[in-house]
Symmetry: C2
């Protein structure tokens, strides 16, 4: 979102909701802690507006202030976001199957969903010994070069596929597919085979094997992947395990909800 | 928060920020999907206000609408909340140590922080074979009966301890400590020993061993615990492993940030 600079005493006709989420969106993985004036500068909102809104957000725990008068995203926002069915909700259901897959493969296991034209990472189990993966939960990435993304894109509405393949395809390694026709053919294989292999498209030492997670109406709601070091295992040999785990999650998602809603934290 | 019912055409003088978060707070673990009129009813906000705000929130992906015109917390909120240093930020740092602890113990491993007078669960690794724990990420629980909570309460500002121990202490099992003086003495042991054991205080079949995670100025910023079935292991024998993992997280939290900010999702 481009900053919409207000003049001194100028009027900002964006809605308060717009201002609030503009303000919250200035925080980023590289800027998790900001001063009031940094927030004002990066949001393009007037300092007085920022001052008032930040005060209201701190009062509700949506932002937290540290001892240096710097602000960060607060726990109250995390508590609300934990209810997102496509985020932590999905993760709760998927976690046991992801753990099984990790036990069996000892490789990075990832779960993602589509948000518009990108994949958002919802969960990850990273093996210490497995190839380095710096996925950030809640982070976004283009779909075509990742296993998760290939699965999500293969099953996305055709207008999404059209839009993604008409945009330039970013190259990360010499192996990244940048020809839309080639990607289109891979996506058709993904639909036929029930899994995707993305071979060294993001980094030259890693590849991923991914399978779709289905919702109640047979639509693809998420994708599950294993990321492994290139040359360590024949990737297609992992496909059955990944598909099994993805089917397990699909079944759990569509199972009737049990009444075991008791909380037993300790 | 009690519903603040507006009369027909009545005026609601809460700020827009207040209304927005009142609206978002009607979603709960039992009510993750709501219709517009349910949101209005539960928030006590006028239907017209709810209609307008929900529209703005959907436009930003903060809420998502399903095909039955019901609303749920959206992925965009999860993406912002993923930046919370005391939530997912802490989790990112802690996860490898939690995985090690899980490998060694094969028991539930949990991470929590204090939010006002309660513990909020930030991460959990649950063993399939371990005792059932239904902790919900982002969920809250009273501090005194849990291992995590005992650690956090032992190191909380004295006014927090005062407030918590002056309120009635809820009983979950015959083992739950409900005498404030008894809890006070346990908290003093926790500070002396460097770990807490909560014995069947939440359910009669489980206990937990917890240790503090320290921030840069030596303050306790989180707690780490292992939850195990009563009678399976002598809990104090797990204390060294839990303390080791908690110290690992403390060290990682205060280590200078490396420049390995590259993203390699797949």
């Amino acid at each position: 979102m481009p900053p919409n600079k207000e003049g001194a005493g100028g009027r900002d006709d964006r809605s308060v909701t717009g201002k609030l989420f503009t303000l919250l969106s200035v925080f980023s993985p590289r800027r998790t802690v900001l001063t009031l004036s940094e927030i004002a500068h990066r949001s393009g909102l007037a300092v007085t507006t920022v001052h008032r809104l930040v005060g209201e957000l701190v009062e509700r725990g949506i932002l937290e202030r540290d001892s240096d008068r710097r602000y960060r995203i607060g726990l109250a926002l995390f508590e609300i976001a934990a209810l997102a069915p496509r985020g932590p909700g999905l993760r709760e259901v998927a976690l046991p199957y992801m753990e099984d897959l990790y036990e069996v493969t000892r490789e990075n296991v990832q779960l993602g969903v589509r948000a518009e034209d990108e994949v958002v990472f919802v969960e990850r189990i990273a093996g210490r010994a497995s190839v380095g993966v710096r996925t950030r939960l809640g982070g976004r990435f283009p779909m075509p070069p990742t296993g998760l993304g290939l699965v999500l894109l293969a099953h996305a509405p055709s207008e999404v596929r059209q839009r993604v393949l008409e945009a330039p395809l970013r190259r990360f390694t010499p192996h990244t597919l940048t020809d839309p026709e080639r990607v289109r053919s891979v996506l058709s294989d993904v639909r036929r085979d029930g899994f995707a292999i993305s071979d060294r498209q993001v980094t030259s030492d890693a590849l991923s094997v991914a399978a779709p997670v289905f919702g109640g109406s047979g639509e693809v709601v998420a994708a599950l992947s294993v990321v492994l070091r290139f040359g360590s295992v024949r990737p297609s040999s992992l496909a059955p395990a990944v598909r099994m785990a993805a089917r397990g999650i699909s079944r759990a998602l569509t199972a009737p909800v049990t009444s075991s809603e008791t909380t037993r934290p300790d």
